[in-house]
């Protein structure tokens, strides 16, 4: 095979491959974070490859594998960074933490625990154990 033949074969082979973006989660309850991407000929093998490159050393509890062509992208500056001044939309100067602390001081109450006893750390209700 000449080098030209090899390059044509490689190009043809790569034409059947599509990028799939991989999002991973370190432990249950964490947000899904973008880890990278894989090239694959179809969704089934994309999941295999995502597992190999992002999960084979027990580093993730969950992977989302999404075909890049299926991802909708919004990057239009007219929508995300419009020209007219709209700083009135931001509640600057109104710090919730300080307002709540002042309200508690007036009422004489304690700051509640970060999580209620009745719920686990992912927000799910704990099962009743009697």
């Amino acid at each position: 095979m000449t080098e030209g033949d090899v390059m044509t074969t490689v190009a043809a082979a790569r034409a059947g491959l599509e990028p799939y973006e991989v999002f991973r989660q370190e432990k249950d309850g964490d947000p899904m974070r973008h880890g990278g991407n894989v090239l694959a000929p179809d969704p089934e093998l994309a999941v295999h490859y995502a597992r190999e490159l992002f999960g084979r050393r027990n580093e993730s509890t969950r992977l989302w594998v999404v075909r890049r062509a299926d991802i909708q992208v919004l990057e239009d500056p007219d929508l995300l960074d419009p020209p007219l001044d709209r700083s009135f939309k931001k509640p600057g100067g109104y710090v919730m933490r300080d307002k709540l602390a002042a309200a508690r001081a007036r009422a004489g109450t304690e700051k509640p625990a970060a999580r209620a006893e009745s719920h686990d750390r992912t927000g799910g209700r704990r099962a009743e154990t009697k």
Binding site: A13, L17, V38, L39, A40, P41, E44, L45, H48, Y49, R51, E52, L53, R56
Partner: protein, 258 residues
């Protein structure tokens, strides 16, 4: 520590079973690892290398169990590396060289499904093996998914992949049943509950499994040739070459460790 079989006949039969299982995984893993760096896709390079590592891990665990059963002073490294080529007891199916991608997929497919039928035949009679097999089956699920995905893609991928796959299945089909070569101590193992069925029966289950995948794809099943008593002996030139590779570091200096 581990409850090793008391009965001498069972002990010998168990050692034979463990040796065949360990050698199968060891040789299969090393052959698969020959793709590292040159697989057809970068992602497949990682996948096949990872599968090869899994198999070597399985082999290691099986050699460790074998070392405990034999209790002759050899550890798992000695069992894996310190034998002459003719002393290995892997199935002749695994003597086939790495070949091209279709050859590897065909070999892996025939072997993976055979190994699955064998693992499904392991009973509770020797607890360390039963416990290990439970873990092995969980990892082997992924190997099966991967190889079946590739059988389907090669079969349906166009004239060239299909032609190569058919040729590979034909070339290796004759040797495929050697995974089920009868063990001399099978009766003792079944009586001790270490095997739940004989290897000939496991072979039947393997064929049924092959049928569900190959027939819908219009692919031929391996020929039915009856039990092969020497199916784990008389290894090929390509295996001798592989042996030279995987023992080269060990042989370069006796007692070498990391």
């Amino acid at each position: 520590m581990t409850a090793v079989a008391e009965d001498r006949a069972v002990q010998t039969a168990l050692a034979e079973l463990l040796l065949t299982m360990a050698d199968d995984e060891f040789v299969s893993g090393f052959t698969d690892s020959e793709w590292t760096g040159i697989a057809p896709l970068l992602e497949e390079d990682v996948a096949i290398s990872s599968i090869a590592q899994d198999e070597l891990g399985h082999a290691r665990a099986l050699y460790q169990l074998l070392a405990e059963v034999l209790a002759d002073g050899r550890d798992e490294d000695a069992l894996a590396y310190d034998r002459e080529p003719e002393e290995y007891r892997h199935a002749r199916l695994l003597d086939h060289a790495r070949g091209d991608w279709a050859d590897t997929i065909a070999r892996r497919f025939l072997y993976e499904l055979a190994d699955e039928a064998r693992l499904a035949s392991i009973g509770a009679g020797f607890k360390p093996l039963a416990d290990l097999v439970q873990k092995l089956r969980r990892e082997e699920r992924y190997h099966r998914m991967h190889v079946v995905a590739w059988i389907e893609r090669l079969a349906r991928g166009g004239p060239e992949p299909r032609r190569r796959l058919e040729a590979a299945l034909r070339a290796q089909g004759l040797d495929a049943p050697t995974v089920f070569t009868p063990l001399s101590g099978e009766a003792a193992l079944i009586e001790a509950g270490i095997l739940t069925r004989g290897l000939t029966e496991a072979e039947g289950a393997w064929r049924a499994d092959l049928t569900t995948i190959l027939v819908p794809l219009g692919l031929e099943l391996p020929p039915h040739i009856g039990p092969t008593p020497d199916g784990r002996q008389g290894h090929s030139e390509s295996f001798r070459w592989l042996w030279g590779e995987f023992t080269s570091v060990r042989r370069s200096e006796g007692g070498v460790t990391w």
